[in-house]
């Protein structure tokens, strides 16, 4: 947190093992599932690095409450995620979306393995012959 702007909410509530609130579920099980799916895919915006499902910050509770409200009005998980993404940007999603500027992130592991395998191949059998 930069000293120059102190987000009060974050300071007070973002520590781990902070108090837990058991929240009321929606009466409709399928709507509750929609809400849980959406909550499970989002980040807590005030506590960096914490998932929304794990944060007890006031704002996080309000977000979960809002998500449940949207689900109870018939929104799908995708609707909810789109709503939040439009307002907070891709960083509110817990998993980076596969888009043009995250391709490197998603394909780098495979690329590294392939590169390494090629180097290994060249150093262990330079003439490409079998053993």
């Amino acid at each position: 947190m930069r000293a120059s702007h102190l987000f009060m909410i974050a300071l007070l509530a973002c520590a781990p093992a902070q108090a837990v609130t058991i929240e009321q579920k929606l009466p409709d099980a399928s709507q509750e599932q929609v809400a849980q799916n959406a909550i499970g895919k989002l980040n807590c915006v005030v506590c960096e690095g914490q998932a929304l499902a794990d944060s007890d910050a006031t704002f996080a509770r309000e977000m979960r409450h809002e998500i449940r409200r949207m689900a109870s009005e018939g929104a799908t998980t995708d609707d909810i995620l789109t709503y939040f993404r439009a307002r907070y940007g891709a960083s509110i999603l817990l998993t980076p979306p596969v888009q043009s500027n995250t391709l490197i992130l998603w394909f780098a592991p495979l690329a590294m393995v392939l590169l390494g395998a090629w180097i290994l191949w060249r150093t262990t059998c330079p003439r490409g012959g079998s053993q």
Partner: protein, 184 residues
């Protein structure tokens, strides 16, 4: 030559880290490229001082340049920026200032405004955070500037400093105001 690869890779990494470090110690976050910039402001679910619904609709915003500020009486940086907001209002009379009290009540807000200055034309309340979420707020204080057509043009996270007020926000307000006047 191949043996120089580790050194070269490391230099790139080091340069990146240096730039990131210097960049991060830069003052406050303004999100000139935030996701809401150039988006039309939608209706915000808010309440008035009597806890009755008083949403902020696009009609309320149409025709006037608006500055929206989210605050709370328990928030120290919000307190710190009030002086700047009052000064800003003095310089930009025609701009509509709307305050949104987040997780706060009229009982505490009214005396707080009296004490620190009240630049707002209208004060509304967001007890459950719905409006804050609709605005993509990550914390308070947060300030938005909306033009006369209802499009969000500027978003500031963090307290308004004198420097920002004079060099960014005030010129922007004046520019948007003259755009609005021309359009009439």
């Amino acid at each position: 030559m191949i043996r120089m690869i580790p050194v070269l890779l490391f230099s790139v990494l080091a340069a990146l880290l240096f730039v990131a470090l210097i960049g991060s110690s830069d003052g406050d976050v303004k999100r000139a490229n935030g996701p809401l910039i150039d988006q039309p402001m939608k209706t915000l679910p808010l309440k008035d001082a009597e806890s009755a619904d008083m949403p902020l609709t696009p009609e309320d915003l149409h025709g006037k340049v608006t500055l929206i500020n989210l605050l709370a009486s328990w928030c120290a940086p919000c307190e710190a920026e009030m002086g700047e907001l009052v000064a800003l209002k003095d310089d930009a009379e025609a701009v509509q200032f709307i305050g949104i009290a987040w997780n706060d009540s009229p009982i505490t807000i009214a005396p707080w405004l009296k004490k620190h200055g009240d630049p707002f034309d209208s004060m509304r309340y967001d007890p459950g955070g719905r409006a804050a979420i609709a605005l993509g707020v990550r914390g308070i204080p947060e300030t938005y500037v909306v033009d006369a057509k209802g499009t969000i043009r500027y978003q500031l996270s963090g307290p308004l400093t004198e420097d920002m007020r004079k060099n960014e926000v005030l010129p922007l307000l004046k520019q948007l105001q003259s755009e609005a006047d021309d359009a009439r």
